[in-house]
């Protein structure tokens, strides 16, 4: 040992644990961010989550949260590290080392440590992502589009994160050096700190604020849209959630500092509360981050089960095994060919029905949006020809659905739309001839769930309106059941249908030719044609197995066997992504909780020493430490979990036409509860582990 560098190397070797904690945290943060970013940049995710879409926004939001979380725990770890280093620094300063020399050594250490750990994270992030990806494909779902493709651009975010962390660490190092005080080290005795009392009404007041802010934030957007007819910018409506955040802070602070034990019972927890008087506020700020992260993680984990249970339920309730429709101008596979195909798979086509339908223009109100400085406002405008509607004659419907409905001329029955809402029209128009007919929509909608978004007319009206209608406005609807059918048959048939479809059918299911006509009349470009500008789903007839094609093609057949077989793979990417996000968030939460507990115990080490000197038994000190660690864990985990469960419950209650929960939603919620239970168990194990570590620190 000849020089300072050697001294620092020796000190580093002896203080390995502290160095490991910091570099471990940095490594972990960069690793996760790299892996996640790599996944976000993969073409799979890019195509499955359309840009500007809600899912992409949610994923990005959670990703940002996770990055913040990673940043937060890296900073705690750095704080712990510098606290550990402060004694050494103080002694060296006392022995006459100049601050400049100390700065040089510390800078070198911080730089080396950051470079090593972040570098390792950057390098290993890609293999990790690839590993999770492959495991996922191996055990859960494998679809042809789930190719893992390396993308150099994915390194942007982790690299920026690395620079940010390095920058912050160097700032912290400088501040640390400026603040390190020889006297504080010499008089390690603890100077009394002033206590800032926490008002006793913070507890219940906070809960009230959470409820208030939660409902304000939840109802504000729909209030703006429904009542004010104004699509307020998201940032503005998000403001209404603010009281909830303040409330959360109050509740956490109250729980952590004072605790809910009042009166005589509070003496049992006097020591823990006493210690928390000082670290309380700081701890609570960390807890807030944890709470938000936990909520984000649960949000991500619940997303897929929610989506899956509801679509699974829809699958089960179908009235026919096979149904599809095609434009009358297409050379489509015939009944005989279908039967032949089925036979080659030793299946039997039964109950084959085939009827024709026509597409007419229907009237209705549109929202005319105007973009202003305060976001988008809209006014409602009536249009005689608003959009497309598909019409069946009542006799065709009766054949198709085995119904026996009758209609007078001028009457119309509407089915529920795809979201389950009834619709009502008063005027239908032949888009080719312009001939129109006033109709009266009967109040009770079509009870059958066979098809959605359709209308029935009397045979007489139908015959009148079809006059002069060109084939591209006419369709053929096919419905049949099958015995002994298979996924292979369904897929084969689906591919035949796609092969028989001409390029003019390559449109997504929101494409509306009437709206297009309106737009053109107004001299505008129809939004549905701005595929690239608006990032609309691309329908490529040569890639019928892509998720984007399956979920968005206008003429997508509904084959029970196919959908059941493909069910998981359609959601595979979502599942993968959200699993990944939850892993990321939960990992961040775990590291924060662990380091926080550790630092809390460390900064109160002397209290435990004093307690020991005052004759407190080991059991008592164990219990006190347990109380402290419990505070760090319980409050944010519980709050985060309960909050997100409430949020999902609210969504479920508000979903659908009636306020309440149906059987499917109950299943979805049960799945979420089970997930929450599993995660909570894991957190309990982490808590036990952290507690053991704390006891070890206290030599108990």
């Amino acid at each position: 040992m000849k020089n300072l560098t050697a001294v620092f190397a020796t000190l580093r070797k002896k203080g390995r644990g502290q160095y490991l904690l910091l570099s471990g945290c940095l490594f972990f943060a960069v690793l996760l961010i790299t892996a996640f970013s790599m996944m976000m940049y993969s073409p799979t995710v890019q195509t499955v989550l359309p840009q500007g879409g809600d899912s992409r926004k949610q994923v990005m939001m959670i990703f940002v949260l996770a990055v913040i979380g990673c940043g937060a725990f890296s900073l705690y770890a750095a704080g712990l590290f510098f606290r550990y280093k402060s004694r050494e620094a103080g002694v060296l300063l006392a022995l006459g080392m100049s601050r400049r020399a100390l700065n040089r050594q510390l800078c070198r250490e911080v730089l080396g440590l950051t470079l090593e750990s972040c570098g390792a994270g950057l390098i290993l992030g890609t293999p990790l992502c690839w590993g999770i990806w492959s495991l996922f494909r191996l055990f859960l779902v494998d679809t042809p589009e789930m190719l893992f493709i390396f993308n150099l651009r994915a390194y942007t975010v982790p690299f920026l994160f690395f620079l940010f962390v390095l920058f912050l660490l160097l700032i912290m190092e400088n501040r640390f050096l400026a603040r390190v005080n020889v006297l504080d080290i010499i008089h390690e005795s603890h100077r009394p700190e002033p206590v800032r009392a926490v008002p006793s009404w913070y507890g219940w007041g906070g809960i009230l604020l959470i409820v208030l802010g939660g409902s304000l934030g939840y109802f504000a957007p729909s209030f703006c849209v429904r009542v004010l007819q104004w699509y307020a910018p998201g940032l503005l409506t998000a403001v209404f959630y603010l009281p909830a955040l303040v409330g959360l802070y109050w509740v956490l602070l109250f729980t952590v500092v004072g605790g809910w034990h009042r009166g005589k019972r509070r003496y049992a927890h006097l020591i823990e509360s006493g210690m928390m008087q000082f670290q309380g506020r700081q701890t609570v700020r960390n807890m807030l981050v944890v709470t938000v992260l936990v909520a984000g993680a649960y949000f991500a984990s619940f997303y897929t089960p929610m989506m899956m249970t509801s679509s699974q339920a829809a699958l089960k309730n179908r009235e026919a095994d096979y149904q599809f429709f095609y434009r009358a101008d297409q050379e489509m596979i015939s009944q005989a060919e279908i039967q032949e195909l089925a036979q080659s798979y030793s299946a039997q086509v039964v109950n084959y029905r085939e009827v024709s339908s026509i597409t007419l223009a229907i009237d209705g109100e549109t929202e005319v949006e105007t973009e202003g400085p305060m976001g988008v406002t809209y006014t409602v405008q009536y249009q005689e020809m608003r959009s497309e509607g598909r019409f069946f004659s009542v006799s065709a419907w009766n054949t198709l659905a085995r119904d026996n409905l009758t209609l007078e001329s001028g009457q119309c029955i509407a089915s529920l739309d795809r979201y389950g809402y009834p619709s009502s029209i008063s005027l239908v128009t032949n888009p080719v001839t312009g001939q129109s007919l006033k109709v009266e929509t009967l109040p009770s909608p079509l009870s059958s769930r066979l098809l959605s978004d359709i209308y029935l007319l009397s045979d007489q009206d139908y015959a009148q309106l079809i006059q002069g209608l060109t084939p591209e406005w006419q369709e053929v609807q096919v419905v049949f059941d099958a015995e002994n059918d298979s996924y292979a048959l369904a897929k084969d048939l689906f591919h035949r249908i796609v092969e028989s479809s001409g390029p003019e059918t390559a449109v997504f299911d929101g494409y509306d030719r009437i709206s297009k006509m309106n737009a053109e009349k107004a001299g505008e470009v129809y939004w549905g044609d701005q595929v690239e500008e608006l990032n609309l789903p691309v329908i490529d007839l040569t890639r019928p197995d892509s998720s984007s094609f399956r979920t968005n093609w206008l003429y997508m057949p509904q084959f029970q066997a196919l959908d059941e077989g493909d069910f998981l793979s359609t959601y595979a990417v979502y599942l993968l992504l959200f699993i990944f996000i939850s892993i990321l968030c939960f990992a961040a939460v775990s590291v924060i909780l662990y380091t926080r507990s550790q630092s809390l115990i460390l900064s109160n080490l002397w209290v435990y020493e004093d307690l020991h000197k005052l004759g407190a038994s080991a059991a008592y000190r164990r219990k006190t430490a347990q109380g402290q660690v419990k505070r760090v864990f319980l409050a944010p985990l519980l709050t985060g979990t309960v909050l997100i469960l409430c949020f999902y419950l609210l969504i479920l209650l508000g979903n659908g036409r009636v306020w309440g929960i149906d059987a499917n939603e109950a299943v979805a919620f049960a799945v979420c509860l089970a997930l929450a239970a599993i995660c909570s168990t894991l957190f309990y194990l982490l808590y036990r582990f952290t507690l053991k570590q704390a006891w070890r620190l206290l030599k108990l």
């Binding site: 040992m1 000849k2 020089n3 300072l4 050697a6 001294v7 020796t10 000190l11 070797k13 002896k14 203080g15 050494e88 103080g90 002694v91 060296l92 300063l93 006392a94 022995l95 006459g96 080392m97 100049s98 601050r99 400049r100 020399a101 020889v182 006297l183 080290i185 010499i186 008089h187 390690e188």
Partner: protein, 250 residues
């Protein structure tokens, strides 16, 4: 050697000024072992910290040889602390990650001078203070007395002009304290070190050549040991301390 002239220091607490040192003057000659005593809160530690410039003083002069410490810049001060002053603290302040021998060598390493000779100097000091057998152990594995003797050895390795010690025996039992005092005495007789020691302990102070009694931020009196027996000197110290506290009560 060390001369403090009219040193004043006050602390601002809640916007109010509390004078702690109100014009302290004292002198420590080369090779002298000087003690500072006084009731709690009399400003002993403040005096010591002002001398080592850990806290800036308000007015007055601190002269080490002919260097005026209060005029020095941070870098120069660090150098003075490293080369011309030696410190012994109540809490030892050894680095837990270094062995006893490495801890002793630390000031030399920081100074970056005389590196080849430092191992020899460290071993000599270890021999002198009877800690040779533990010189490769870590501070966590040795007793409090041994730690403090290590600290004394560390303070001496750069042959400082003065050793400043704040309650060096405060954390030790009487047997260990005795050994540390012996170490100071050896440093004085064999290395002709100059020692300035703040203490509460009249027993430790009774080994000094001279004891300064501080009260309410002023030097109240100075007692010389001269040719007195140690017991006799300790009794004299106790008497004068008792007197000064009686004055306060009346």
């Amino acid at each position: 050697m060390l001369s403090v002239q009219n040193l004043c220091k006050s602390f601002l607490v809640g916007g109010e000024k509390y004078p702690v040192l109100k014009g302290v003057s004292l002198e420590v000659k080369k090779g002298e072992f000087v003690g500072v005593m006084g009731p709690s809160g009399s400003g002993k530690s403040t005096l010591l910290n002002s001398i080592s410039c850990y806290i800036p003083s308000d007015s007055g002069k601190i002269l080490l040889g002919n260097l005026e410490l209060s005029q020095l810049k941070e870098e120069q001060l660090a150098r003075v602390r490293n080369e011309k002053l030696g410190f012994v603290f109540q809490d030892f302040l050894l680095l837990d990650g270094l062995t006893v021998r490495e801890n002793i060598m630390l000031p030399r390493i920081i100074g970056g001078k005389n590196v080849p000779a430092m191992e020899k100097s460290a071993d000599l000091l270890c021999d002198l203070f009877g800690i040779s057998h533990i010189k490769n152990k870590y501070p966590a594995d040795i007793s409090g007395g041994e730690r403090q003797r290590t600290a004394v050895a560390r303070a001496l390795i750069n042959n400082p002009q003065v050793i400043l010690a704040d309650e060096p025996t405060g954390n030790l039992d009487s047997k260990s304290a005795q050994k540390v005092i012996d170490a100071f005495l050896q440093a004085k007789t064999q290395l002709s070190a100059t020692i300035f020691m703040v203490t509460h302990d009249s027993y430790a102070a009774s080994f000094c050549d001279r004891v300064i009694i501080l009260k309410d931020g002023n030097v109240q009196m100075t007692l010389e040991r001269e040719e007195k027996e140690r017991r006799e000197f300790q009794d004299a110290l106790l008497d004068s301390i008792r007197e000064s506290s009686e004055v306060k009560e009346s």
